[in-house]
Amino acid sequence: MNAVRSRCVAGGCGILAVVMLVACAVTGVGVDVDGGGEVGYVGGYYQPYGYEYGGWGRDYHVGPARGNYGHDRGGEHGAPHGNVHAAPSHAPAYRPAPAGRSAPSIPGRSRGH
């Protein structure tokens, strides 16, 4: 009788261990963002080595519209003024902003105002 009881207890513990492991997998506990060990935090992401950020020529223009700049080609791919590269001959993959709207800039309101 004792042997049967012991088997039941032992089996119960084994099931408990399996359930806990499954719970870990289901809840994401222990998920590593890049597969390099336990992190416990979503956001601990290392980029693969080799990303190249430098080496740009003079064409590194990534900033937002400023001041009187920022005429866009809107949905028409028009050319409000010079310095415009040729409009693509095909429809863009994205939905262009409505024609006539110029590209907005970043927020200009200062804190406390």
């Binding site: 963002v33 990303y51 900033g63 310095n83 590209a103």
Partner: protein, 303 residues
């Protein structure tokens, strides 16, 4: 055949179960991440870049570098075997440093992860996955911060989505030392813009450029949120997000970064629309941008 009596196995099984339970509780310990807004802003700006996390192998070195460069201060938190430091500017949390060792032989690069505001992480994930994105780390909720997940776009550029439980930061001009701009470099800027438009509902503006490359602006709430720029392909270039900090003088800030152990990746230069920008890397190699901004350069407020 020798059989082991179940009672003799019992202690081992119990010990194993307890050990597993301990592991789970350590791993599950929550970070006490601060709210983005105290008090809650009550505002939501889907598509706005609202946070950045640096993952670094040396938290103290990172604090020294960024604190010296931008005047950030730090509040540390600890959970399990990890340390996390919240970067503060003028008493406001603006980013986080997550310490994680790089094992010998691992080819990993420290990186600033860009967080974009969403109302609901699950919905944003579903749209992203339906349009070619991939899940890098599934949704996780942090009590004060909100819910966040890490994704990659169809080209592999990694970003995070965050549904802030305290609302999104109001739309103010970034103070010197704060994040002011973000850019995505992509092989196919048009396709990338389409993806982010699907996920975040951006308006997309095609900016004029003389370089033959595509430069697009993503906007929401009538504010520019980020740019998407194509690059001519080279074997070592991959799509990536890059965040810029506002500084008073880009050249001086880049020189200071170098003096503190960083290096310049893109020399200070005039941007197409005026102003200066540069890209530098911190001492561990994590890249970020520097950008100046004169308050008078902001176009007419849309609201």
């Amino acid at each position: 055949m020798v059989s082991i009596h179940p009672l003799r196995r019992f202690p081992k099984i119990v010990f194993s179960a307890l050990f597993l339970a301990a592991c789970v509780s350590v791993a599950h310990a929550q970070f006490e991440l601060p709210a983005l807004n105290t008090p809650p802003s009550g505002e939501h700006h889907v598509g706005k870049i609202i946070w950045a996390d640096l993952v670094t192998p040396d938290l103290s070195a990172a604090e020294k570098f960024y604190g010296g460069l931008f005047g950030w201060t730090f509040q540390r938190t600890h959970a399990g075997t990890s340390d996390y430091s919240v970067a503060m500017l003028d008493g406001r949390p603006i980013g986080g440093f997550f310490e994680k060792p790089i094992q010998a032989g691992q080819h990993k690069q420290p990186y600033w992860l860009t967080f974009i505001a969403v109302r609901e992480v699950g919905a944003a994930m579903r749209v992203a996955l339906a349009h070619g994105g991939k899940m890098v780390a599934g949704p996780r909720t942090y009590p004060q911060r909100g819910e966040q997940a890490v994704l990659s776009d169809p080209e592999g550029a990694v970003f995070a989505v965050l549904a802030s439980s305290s609302g999104d930061p109001p739309d103010y001009l970034a103070a010197p030392g704060d994040w002011i701009w973000s850019s995505l470099m992509s092989k196919d800027a048009g396709a990338a813009a389409a993806f982010y438009q699907q996920v975040f509902g951006y308006d997309v503006f095609d900016m004029e450029a003389a370089d033959g490359l595509e430069h697009l602006t993503l906007s929401s709430d009538d504010y520019a949120r980020a740019s998407v720029n194509s690059f001519s392909g080279t074997a070592r270039r991959y799509s990536h997000w890059l965040n810029f900090v506002r500084v008073g003088n880009v050249t001086d800030a880049a020189a200071k970064a170098v003096a503190m152990g960083g290096r310049v990746l893109v020399e200070p230069r005039a941007d197409r629309a005026g102003g200066m920008l540069a890209v530098v890397a911190d001492p561990t190699g994590a890249p970020f941008g520097l950008m100046d901004w004169d308050a008078s350069e902001t176009k007419t407020e849309p609201k």
